[in-house]
């Protein structure tokens, strides 16, 4: 929340002039019939995507030259808002003149970019990006029909945020590499979740297979488990600095039990570890003397030195022992 958020912006004011123009006068709206295609010796492809029940649906017509696989003509019909109509119109334009294989490479990012008035200013407000995604999806469907394959075969990766085309793999990598802990950070790094917001958590405009909240939680859990495993492995290999705090305490106790305590007990004393606190340069081990050691003149000098030297030798040179 900030000053600029106090008054909600008008949705339509965020549309580019191109979106407005194409909504009012789409250039490629209409149908292509079997007869027309046949007269030109071409093949007609008709693909539907979306659903009226979701408030957005598009039908794409392609007339494809079977000898060259080039889309020679394309038209659309749309049940949707202004951005859906404009996106569908620019999408058909981008298809014309391309081979089917080239057309499959057109993404929703290309569609949205083609609708911009200026390269730096988005053509539609964030919640309307899903309209361009639909345009992308219907191209894949049309290509699949033409090539006789499954539309999913064009998708090499699992796409979590379709608006920004961010894959599951990318999200997992970015969370790990940058140690991200919040959805806002993920959006800052990848743009995922920054548009229609359907991919953030269930309950948005579209139902999604993967949600950022789940990916973040699962990846963080995997990272924690890996960290624990690494610490456990490091502990078993004796690397004191890589151990977890509990492992460090256990290791210190083990060394004291093995090499220190019996000498103190022989003189009627003892000691206990109160706390272990890692700092930048040291690992501070706070101890308290018990019995005869408590108040003994040597407890602050020779005995203390012997305990610290033993821990340094057996565990880490960084250990510093502090009596309290």
């Amino acid at each position: 929340m900030a000053k600029n958020d106090l008054l909600g912006a008008s949705l339509w004011d965020a549309y580019s002039n191109k979106v407005t123009t194409l909504m009012n006068n789409p250039n490629h709206q209409g149908e292509i019939t079997e007869q027309e295609a046949a007269e030109h010796g071409n093949r007609l492809i008709v693909a539907d995507f979306g659903a009226e029940s979701c408030g957005d649906a598009v039908r794409l017509y392609w007339e494809v030259d079977p000898k060259t696989d080039i889309i020679v003509n394309s038209k659309f019909k749309s049940f949707g808002c202004g951005t859906a109509i404009a996106s569908s119109d620019i999408m058909t334009e981008l298809c014309i003149g391309k081979t089917v294989k080239e057309a499959v490479k057109i993404t929703n990012i290309d569609v949205e970019f083609a609708l911009r008035d200026s390269p730096d200013i988005p053509a539609v407000p964030p919640q309307k990006m899903h309209c361009s995604v639909m345009a992308y999806d219907v191209i894949k469907k049309a290509a699949a029909l033409y090539m006789g394959v499954d539309a999913e075969s064009f998708e090499e990766e699992i796409i979590v945020c379709e608006c920004a085309r961010v894959s599951l793999k990318t999200l997992q990598e970015v969370i790990r590499l940058n140690d991200l802990t919040t959805i806002e950070q993920i959006t800052d790094y990848t743009k995922a979740g920054g548009f229609c917001k359907s991919c953030i958590k269930p309950g948005g405009h579209e139902k999604r297979e993967y949600y950022l909240v789940d990916i973040l939680r699962d990846t963080r859990r995997e990272m924690d488990e890996e960290k624990m495993k690494a610490a456990a492995d490091a502990g078993s290999k004796g690397s004191f600095e890589s151990m977890t705090l509990v492992q460090q305490i256990k290791a210190i106790d083990a060394v004291i039990d093995e090499s220190v305590r019996q000498f103190l007990i022989m003189d009627g004393g003892n000691m206990e570890v109160i706390d272990v606190k890692p700092s930048e340069d040291y690992v501070d081990v706070y101890i308290r003397y018990l019995g005869a050691c408590n108040g003994c003149a040597s407890s602050a000098t020779g005995t203390l030195y012997a305990i610290e030297a033993t821990l340094k030798e057996k565990l880490s040179k960084k250990i510093r022992v502090l009596p309290i």
Binding site: Q29, S53, F79
Partner: protein
């Protein structure tokens, strides 16, 4: 020509209302709580406004009508104070409302659920209204409050408030009604119906935005939401908004004087518009005319997505809505349409047209022409309509949408 047909969202301030409020900005500006003459100078006008509101609603002098900032505040006040007075104390924990209330009721109820209230959201029938026997069947000895709107902001359908009020009275349950779409549009007689609390907002009946009221039936305790001074008899603190109170009084007087005559005039224009739009094939109007506020039409146009239609109407200088103005940028289907059992495609096509007493015949003519042109254009683009098998003669009617 510009045509404003979104009067369920807000209305133009009547020039006569503007006129009466003007002096209280610059000439009679004293704080009405001050003892000096600058403050007391506004008392006659405030007193008159109070009288105007009481008279318009036929409220008893023993009842309280407290000025608030809007109906959202009034709705929140009732729900949250009942929660504090009954639910926190533990004697009752249940609120009954409907699925189709305004967000200021639904969102407040959801917030109270998080605090421990049990809320029942009643379904509506195919006319879009909740039936009294349904309300009765959900009341238990734990029910503290029933909250049902008087008329729907989206469909205009009038709810059976009298019958529900009788049930609440019989069961000893408090009854609140959000009357924001009823006051000034249809007769509201608070001595003819048993309502304990009624919310209203001046900007829905040609008053300014930022002033509303809450009616509290005689002797009903309701703890204040705003504490501070002893304004409004201690019911609601905050310096009185004198110009707006004066304006609300004048606005409600103008709206309710000869209301039957005004309703007949608006209804005639509405029905003419509705009849003309239903000449288009595959169009549907929600709810029967007899039981609807006389100014409202919620029309669905098969194959034409709501926002697309709104765009074309806006290009023609016609202001309408896809549903409640609060949700006009929402991507979701019209929730009232879904609640009354419209299929989900149809629920994306609803356009609300709401008239006022300032709507003219020539504006209706212009709207009919432009509306039809827009439907033809958008159906030519529509992938959905292309797939609809043509209905012989075109099926168009003001119908009940069935579950």
């Amino acid at each position: 020509m510009q045509v404003y047909l979104d009067n369920n969202a807000t209305t133009m301030v009547d020039p006569l209302v503007v006129e009466v409020m003007q002096p209280f900005f610059s000439e009679i500006y004293g704080n009405p709580n001050s003892l000096h003459k600058f403050g007391t100078a506004s008392h006659p006008a405030i007193s008159k406004a109070i009288d105007q509101v009481y008279k318009a609603l036929n409220a008893s002098d023993n009842d309280d009508i407290v000025f608030t900032s809007c109906a959202t505040e009034s709705n929140n006040w009732v729900l949250k104070s009942i929660f504090n007075d009954h639910i926190v104390s533990g004697d009752k924990n249940h609120i009954i409302t409907t699925e189709v209330e305004h967000p200021s009721v639904l969102a407040a109820c959801r917030a109270l659920e998080k605090e421990g209230a049990k809320v029942t959201y009643l379904p509506v029938n195919s006319q879009g209204v909740v039936e009294p026997h349904v309300v009765r069947s959900f009341i238990t000895d734990k029910t503290a409050l029933v909250s049902v709107m008087w008329a729907s902001n989206e469909t205009g359908m009038i709810f059976p408030i009298k019958e529900i009020g009788e049930i609440c009275k019989e069961k000893g349950v408090l009854f609140h009604s959000d009357g924001v779409q009823a006051v000034g549009k249809i007769p509201v007689d608070l001595q003819a119906v048993h309502v304990d609390f009624l919310s209203m907002s001046a900007h829905k009946f040609h008053g300014p935005k930022g002033i509303g009221a809450l009616y509290i039936r005689n002797s009903q305790p309701l703890s204040p939401l705003l504490h501070g001074g002893e304004h409004m008899g201690g019911r609601r603190s905050g310096t009185l908004n004198v110009p707006y109170i004066v304006a609300m009084g004048k606005a409600i007087e103008l709206a309710t004087t000869n209301i039957e005559e005004k309703m007949a005039s608006i209804r005639a224009k509405r029905d003419r518009l509705e009849d003309a739009l239903l000449e288009l094939s595959d169009t549907f109007v929600v709810g029967n005319r007899e039981n609807r506020t006389p100014n409202t039409i919620l029309i669905s146009i098969r194959g034409v997505e709501g926002e697309g239609m709104l765009w074309d109407l806006n290009n023609g200088q016609i202001g309408a809505s896809t549903g409640s103005a609060c949700a006009s940028e929402d991507l979701q289907a019209n929730t009232v349409m879904l609640a009354i059992g419209a299929d989900s495609e149809l629920a994306h096509t609803g356009i609300r047209l709401s008239l006022s007493r300032f709507t003219t015949d020539s504006e209706i003519d212009y709207t009919i022409a432009h509306f039809k042109k827009a439907v033809l254009r958008l159906r030519a683009i529509s992938s959905s309509y292309a797939k609809v098998a043509p209905t012989p003669g075109g099926e168009s009617k003001a119908c009940e949408l069935h579950h």
